[in-house]
Amino acid sequence: MLKIVNGAVYDPANNIDGEVRDVCIDDGKVVDSVEGGRTIDASGMIVMPGGVDMHAHIAGPKVNTARKMRPEDHRLDPVPRTSLTRSGVGKSVPSTFATGYRYAAMGYTTAFDAAVPPIAARHAHEEFSDIPVVDKGFFVLMGNNEYIMQQIAAGERGRMRDYVAWLLQATKGYAIKMVNPGGVEMWKSLGNTHTLDEEVVGFGVTPRGIIRSLAEAGMELHLPHPVHIHCNELGVAGNWETTLETMKTLDGVRGHLAHVQFHSYGGDPGGMFVSRVPELAEYVNTHPNLTVDVGQILFGDTTSMTGDGPLAHMLHQVTGRKWVNVDVENECGCGIVPIEYKDKSHMHTTQWAVGLEWYLMVNDPWRIALSTDHPNGASFVSYPQVIRLLMDREFRREAIKKVNPKAVAKTALPDLDREYSLFEIAIITRAAPARILGLKHKGHLGIGADADVTIYDKCDDAEKMFSVPRYVIKEGEVLVEDGSIRRETFGKTLYVAPVYDTAVEKDIREYFRKYYTIEFENYPVQLEHYLPRPREVATTGDS
């Protein structure tokens, strides 16, 4: 039992905006009142739900290959063991333990990996078992799944939907993820798609068809988070039209567009980027079925890792740096390249400004989530810096002075005066991502919510304040106090188990026999073995 008293509470989901009130916790949940137990006096402090990261790359084969690839990065940031915590490394691709501790130390209590190949789902779960503190889940890559494409082409919509449900069950995943739908399949023969209406060679479908079909399937399966889309043409000048087309394709269907920053460029392919955020943000503002996260970039060296193989190859050719490509049978692929964002660079400055424009131009904070697409834009540990850029106009102006002046002048950023309030920050870092993900028990402090709470010392420097919370409470237990971890726990794994007609399994089994290299029977992830603390999120259909 725990009582947090006298704190200014920011709980946007319950419309509480800085009101001084108590938060009571019992048995890991927020309750109406408690008798006894510890009391934390949060006078002069700010109380918020624990942060929710809805789009990051923190576990699974791609992240782990990036770890193997970057000893030079790890060397810069060793994380020593303590009597309570395991050692590891930080920087752009932190080890599992460091990932958990650093999220926790920043007041984040839930994080999702945005791209897991279904066949390697077991790997992601194994890593999850070694990521302390936070609750976690992952999205399952489906946008280039050959079985799905074949069913779409054959008009077998029902079978496709059943397969999607089966796949989510088999992988213990959380949502449908599309990465460059159709394009990654084309990359398996060195190609890519460039418009939504180009045929995916050998499969008789188009990216548009894949997007629409999977989005509908997600809705029909009542998934808490219907579809999570990494649009085609990431990082290419002129890609904003593809992004807009993707939005239009979702007409009337819920959909989340990931790291929109990387998809909002005008200009000619191969040429200089220009921002097209105004047009795209306006479309989002007027279409409530759409949500986005930003994928803010910050300057410095990081690791780009993506399910978008052709994109990684392009980055490799531009930067000349080491390059990993993995094509995954029947399902997807990935690419990894180290990248350094430079404030002198015209292109990188434009990207930086585009990200900030998104935050400042989407009117409804409930439909935009803070992300850096960790580690693609920057490490998740730099979220506090992003927060300050949004909350502090003067800080932003100073930052604008340090970047490429020609590039930033071509964006709307210097003219945007909006400042986020603490209430709005609480939305984009907690309440909104939880709501977008369909997590009813997260992102707020109402009765019955998970008792994941972060308490900050009030401070004018928002970056400082959000970097080092005073207390972090997870499931009712005080884990971080005065900036250090006080005990190690492991959070839960969030997954969905949508119902489907098991008749589909016969067909899938046959497909496995023909095209996979592992047995159908050995494919599904064993819940009891790989999810030490499972938590199924219901697919009830009231979303």
Partner: protein, 269 residues
């Protein structure tokens, strides 16, 4: 001047990155002796292993068989370290300035990723001399290393700037993936020297076996080499006059990369 004398033979590696003028300067004898080191997996003090004479200064003299002492002078920016005996791995790695003299042999990765200063090894060097740690984009980036004996494999690998001179032989893959800079080997080169050379210069005085991606250009007497060789004389190396005035066969490569590197081979004729 601070003199450290090793008290007894070490069994396990001693991590002694504290032995660097930047750390010593201005400290008392007791403070120097109390500086933290790690012996194997145990935290310990410098004084547990060394007799310390003289307060901490920017001029340090080390005595004894320091073959298991790692990270001596790592990251050093100024001053002078003299080792009378062998030194362990990572000597002067990532150093930025100052001078290190070793009258003995040194372990692997001496001068790795160094960014300035000078290391003069009077004995042999191990592998990865002036090289790069795994995954790094750049090895040595400015500064000078002189080895009077032999060097191991991967001397000057991924080197970006600076000069490495090996008076004896060098192992395999000397100057591999070098970005720029100069590696000079007076003895024999191991196999596959200059593999992946982007720019930069390998100078050698014995005809090596060249990779198929190097191409013979000409025999000539490049002026810049005279400058380097004459400067080496000033550093105390004896350089024969023929090397300064003589001709070198130039091979350019590696054509699997930019191809702007060169291997210069002293022309005996």
């Amino acid at each position: 001047m601070t003199v450290l004398t090793l008290k007894s033979q070490l069994q396990a590696p001693l991590e002694a990155g504290v032995i660097v003028p930047d750390r010593f300067a201005g400290n008392s004898v007791a403070a120097v002796a109390g500086m933290p080191v790690t012996y194997g997996n145990e935290a310990a003090c410098l004084g547990d292993f060394f007799k310390v004479a003289g307060a901490g200064s920017t001029e340090i003299v080390l005595e004894g068989d320091l073959g298991r002492v790692k990270n001596i002078a790592a990251g050093m920016t100024r001053g002078k370290i003299t080792v009378h005996g062998d030194a362990g791995m990572h000597l002067g790695s990532e150093m930025r300035g100052g001078v290190i003299n070793v009258y003995g042999n040194v372990g692997d990765w001496a001068g790795s990723e160094m960014k300035g200063g000078k290391i003069h090894i009077h004995g042999n060097a191990g592998h990865g001399l002036g090289g790069a740690y795994r995954g790094s984009r750049r090895g040595m980036n400015r500064g000078m290393i002189i080895v009077e004996g032999n060097a191991g494999n991967e001397a000057g690998a991924v080197m970006r700037r600076g000069l490495i001179v090996v008076a004896g032989n060098a192992g395999d893959f000397a100057g591999a993936f070098m970005i720029a800079g100069t590696l000079m080997v007076f003895g024999k080169l191991g196999i596959r020297a200059g593999a992946g050379l982007l720019r930069g210069t390998l100078v050698t005085f014995n005809q090596p076996e060249l990779l198929p991606t190097f191409c013979y250009d000409c025999s000539y007497s490049p002026s810049f080499l005279k400058l380097i060789l004459r400067d080496l004389r000033l550093q105390g190396l004896s350089i024969s006059e023929e090397y300064i005035t003589g001709c070198y066969r130039r091979y350019s490569g590696d054509f699997n990369r930019l191809g702007k590197g060169e291997i210069l081979v002293y022309d005996q004729r």
